[in-house]
Structures are given as C-alpha cells and as structure tokens.
Amino acid sequence: MLKKKGVITDGLWIRCDACKGLVYKKAMEERLDVCPECNHHFRISARRRIEITLDKGSFEELWADMHPADPIEFKDRISYSERTAQEQKKTGLNEAAVVGLGSIEGKKIVFGVTDSNFIMGSMGSVMGEKIARAAEKAAETGLPLIIISGSGGGARMQEGMFSLMQMAKTNATISRLHDAGGTFISILTDPTMGGVMASYASQGDIIIAEPGALIGFAGPRVIQQTIKKTLPPDFQSAEFLLEHGFLDMIVSRQDMKKELSRIIDYLNGPAVENATEETVN
C-alpha cells in the first residue's frame, strides 16, 4: 500500500521518507497512512481513499468501464495506448478517476476520487467525463458532490487539447450544478496542480486540503527554473494556501470523515431546526 519511493518496507518496520524515522508499520496503517512521528500524509490509492472515507460497503461505482482512447495518436518513447495499458496494470484501475454513489455516516453523497498513481493523476477525457457526469448526478439527485483530487500532472498532455478542454467541461458542469442549487465540496490532497487545480478542483463551495499537500498552478520546479530563486520553505503547501485565503480548512486524514459528515449536516439541515423535545421543555 505504501509504494512511494523512499519508504523502505522491511517486515514490520518502515522508514518514513518525510522524517526519516523508523515507524511501526501497523501504527502507520492504523493512522490511515499518516506517519505517527511527523504527521506526514502519504499518497494513497483511490481504492484506499474510498475505504477510509465512505461507510463500509456503501460505494457503488458508476461508469466503471469507461477507459481512455488515444484521440491524437500520441507517441513519445512509447505510445499512449501502451502507457495506459501499463498504468492500468500497475494500479488495477481503468483510469485515474473513480466516481460513484456512497454514504458518509449514513448520509448519501455523490463521490469522486482521482488517483495520483495513474499517469500522475492527470486529467484526460475520461476523468473530465466522469467528473462532469458526477456533477450532473449531484444536480439531478440533489446530493452533495464530494471530490477528492490528487493530481501532480494537471491536464494530461498525451490527449493534447482534448485534455485542456476538460477544464472547461468540468467547470461547465459544476456551474450547472450550482445553478441547480447543488453544493460541491472539493478536497485537495498531495499533489493537486496545474489544469486540475485551475478548473473544477478550485471551484468547490467548500475547499479542504490535507496537511502538507502540494497545491498550485505551476510546478515548483518550473517556477524555480523560471525565477532562478529559492522558493520559500512552505511554498504551495496546504498551510501556505490557507494563509493566503484559498482554503476553508485543513483537515487531517483521521478527522476527514467526521468533518465531512458535519459539513453535510450543515448542507442538508434547515436553517432553523424543528423544535425538539428538549427545546419544547
């Protein structure tokens, strides 16, 4: 489950690549892949995210069989179809985005997650379409839409301009969701960058990030090469974004489900609660 470089799996113990400390593997898993020593939030798969966020067995995946075409017959050192086949084998997913219906503490939602392991979690036509359909589903059912993004890649270059246009497509459907009175909670995890951040991910009514997540438009390396200066230590971290007014809150992984449940209560509940027995008395 922990496959990031720098994490040494050695039986019962693993080394955290953030604090370099040796951590008891089971303790890490119990803390939902967060280092008990330094609170580093490791990147996790879409499947794991579903498991720790939604009520057990509540997830019903939609449009699962959608998979990438090769609209511009892209080829670098390998062809795009070879690359997607490799990524599918590596991740067990058809594409980077997984969407469907689920519940959080019994409350139904439309849920989506992107997996940063699948071609960097970049957005091509499939991700764009799945997010668009999820937004439409939320508009149609009146359920809150929650999408947890993880994308270091932004718009997927292997689908050329089709990928860039997914930014417009996803935003178009989020705007219709808003017109229909729906609410979108956008959760940003490490990393959420580029075309994903410059489209639906930043259009949440409520925007939450995991601690320490890298979030931004241009990648730090590109910025460094352009300005030829050292970047501030916290630059483009969740904490940096909160400080600059771009997030509603930072929520640690262990608290995420509980906090989402509280938010949904605010979305679903009336402004004035019905008189209960205790207020009547």
Binding site: I72, R77, M161, Q166, M167, K169, F217, I223, P232, F235
Partner: protein, 316 residues
C-alpha cells in the same frame, strides 16, 4: 482618434526593426541570413515546430498591432480593482466597423522594455481578474466580447501562486461558460495551455494559420516525456498543436489565413483578413438568439473529449 495604450506608446513599431533582426529571428533557423527571405511564401512542408517558431516570431503582430491596424476605435480600461493592472492583458471598448465590442487581448510587448512590462505575455492572476471584470461589464452592456489569445502560458512565479493563479484561471473559465453575451476567441500567436483558456472560452474558437494551441509547451512536454527539452520538435509533432490538426480534431472552428510569408511579413494584410473573419463570427453569434447561443456553448464544451465505454466504441 484612436487611443493607444499608454505603455505601448513608446514602441518602435514593426517597421523599425532592422533586416539583421529579421534574419536573426528566422523561424527556420537558417544559418545563412541571406536565406531569410521573410516575404517569400513559406514552403508547404513546415514542421509543427517551425510553426511554433512562427507563432513566437518577435515581429509577429500582437494585440497592440491589431488595435492599431484593425479596430476603428479603442479605449483602454485598466485594472482589476483588487491588486493591480496587468500589462500582459489589454482590455477595453473597441469598435470594429459597425460592431462595438469588449476587447480582451494578451500582449507580449514589442521591444525589450515592453516585454518586461508585459512579462512576455504571461499574465498574472490580476490580469485574469481584470479580464473577467471587463467581460462582466460587457455582459451588462450587452456588448459582444472578442478575445485575442497570445501567451506562452500563465506566469509561473511566487507572486502569481500567492495570489491564486489556478483560482483566477478556473474562475474565468467557469464564468465564461455562462456569460450572457456572445464571445469570440481567436488564437493570434501562442495558445499556451491554461493561460490561454483563461480568456479562451466562448461561442467561436478560431486560430490564425501559423498560430498554435497546446496543452503544454513542446519544450515542457519534451522535458517530461523525452527527459530532454531539445526534443521539442518531436513533442510539437506529437501534440497535434497546429491550426490544421486542431481543425481536423474539431478543437477549433475555423482557420484564419495569413499572408504567404506569415502574419509578420504583412501585418496590414493579416489584420485585414482577421477583421473580416471577426466580423463574420460576430454576425453569426449576434444573429443567434442568446438562449440558443448559450445552450450551444455549453453543449460544445460538454461534448469535448474522446473515450471508450463498454466494448471499444468511440463515444463523443
């Protein structure tokens, strides 16, 4: 009297550039300057990367040139009312023949001083916010919007991130989808990724013959996928970023022809052709009832993308 944007008044103009400069900027990188026959028709076998170089040609007409050569009147409107006035995006009222429009155009700058002022056409969040503010004004005044796209990309720096570059671009895309006035977009030079899309959503998406539009720069793509930026020509080919490819893929609606040696060899002729095309698009979009136009605009973006579903079967 036409008002020339203040920061552009000191510019030297396209004709002031020496022939040595022209030779130095030959898009085909000819070793022999005598070969740099800028006025000669371009050969038909230009590679995609040759076209990228033409799109970046320093003498290529830019928004300020089209303001001078094509619009019958222009009144610049400055500022985003929040942070500053980004010179990389020029906004203002403009008259194009009979049409009064709101012009939004990216500007790279025509000489070193201007290029620095305009940040080489790489807008900051305040540029996108200025554009949005003026587009909202156009919506209230029922003025059609014309955007001229010419950017290598949105500015990648610390300040831009601190002020929410991703948020500013996303907000423009989000708002432009539903803006209740016709919008015509033309890529006149570089259509660099999200930085272009931030003023590039609308009812018509046209591109000039030697402009390009891409999800990533060929150099950036080569650096990531070939691990070597010098493979940019291969990346340019793979990305299908030329006008011809984009028309075939139905990403753009129309290609606006350029003079035989490309727009920089005859800015006046390029402007005349662009003007005619814009007038045609403006007629088409203003003749369409607004509710139908908005449905079509939404539908166009909603259908974007190609993928397989169930047994391999192209859905679109």
């Amino acid at each position: 009297m036409k008002e020339i944007p203040q920061h552009l008044q000191a510019r030297s103009g396209v004709n002031a550039v020496s022939s040595a400069d022209r030779a130095a900027y030959n898009p085909r990188n000819n070793a022999d300057p005598a070969d740099a026959q800028q006025d000669a028709p371009l050969s038909a076998d230009l590679s995609p990367y040759d076209i990228v170089k033409l799109a970046r040609h320093p003498l290529r007409p830019m928004t300020s040139d089209y303001i001078n050569l094509m619009f019958d009147d222009f009144m610049e409107l400055h500022g985003d009312r929040r942070f500053g006035d980004d010179k990389a995006i020029i906004t203002g009222f403009a008259r194009l023949g009979q049409n009064r429009v709101m012009l939004i155009g990216q500007q790279k700058g025509k000489n070193t001083r201007e290029r620095i002022l305009c940040n080489f056409g790489m807008p900051n969040p305040e540029g996108y916010r200025k554009a949005l503010l003026k587009m909202k004004l156009a919506e209230r005044l029922k003025l059609p919007i014309v955007t001229l796209i010419d950017t290598p990309g949105a500015n990648p720096d610390i300040g831009a991130e601190e002020r929410g570059q991703a948020y500013a671009i996303a907000e423009n895309i989000y708002q432009m989808i539903g803006l209740k006035t016709p919008i015509v977009n033309v890529v006149i030079g570089e259509g660099g990724s999200g930085g272009a899309l931030g003023i590039g959503v609308g009812d018509r998406f046209a591109i000039m013959e030697y402009a390009y539009c891409s999800v990533i720069s060929p150099e950036g793509c080569a650096a990531i996928l070939w691990k070597d930026a010098s493979h940019a020509p291969l990346a340019a080919e793979a990305l299908k970023l030329t006008a011809k490819e984009l028309l075939r893929l139905e990403i753009v609606d129309d290609i606006i022809p350029e003079p035989p040696g490309a727009a920089h060899t005859s800015p006046r002729e390029a402007a005349a052709t662009l003007k005619k095309a814009l007038q045609r698009y403006l007629k088409e979009v203003t003749d369409t009832p607004l509710d139908i136009l908005l449905d079509k605009r939404y539908g166009k973006y909603r259908r974007m993308g190609k993928f397989f579903e169930q047994q391999p079967q192209q859905a679109e």
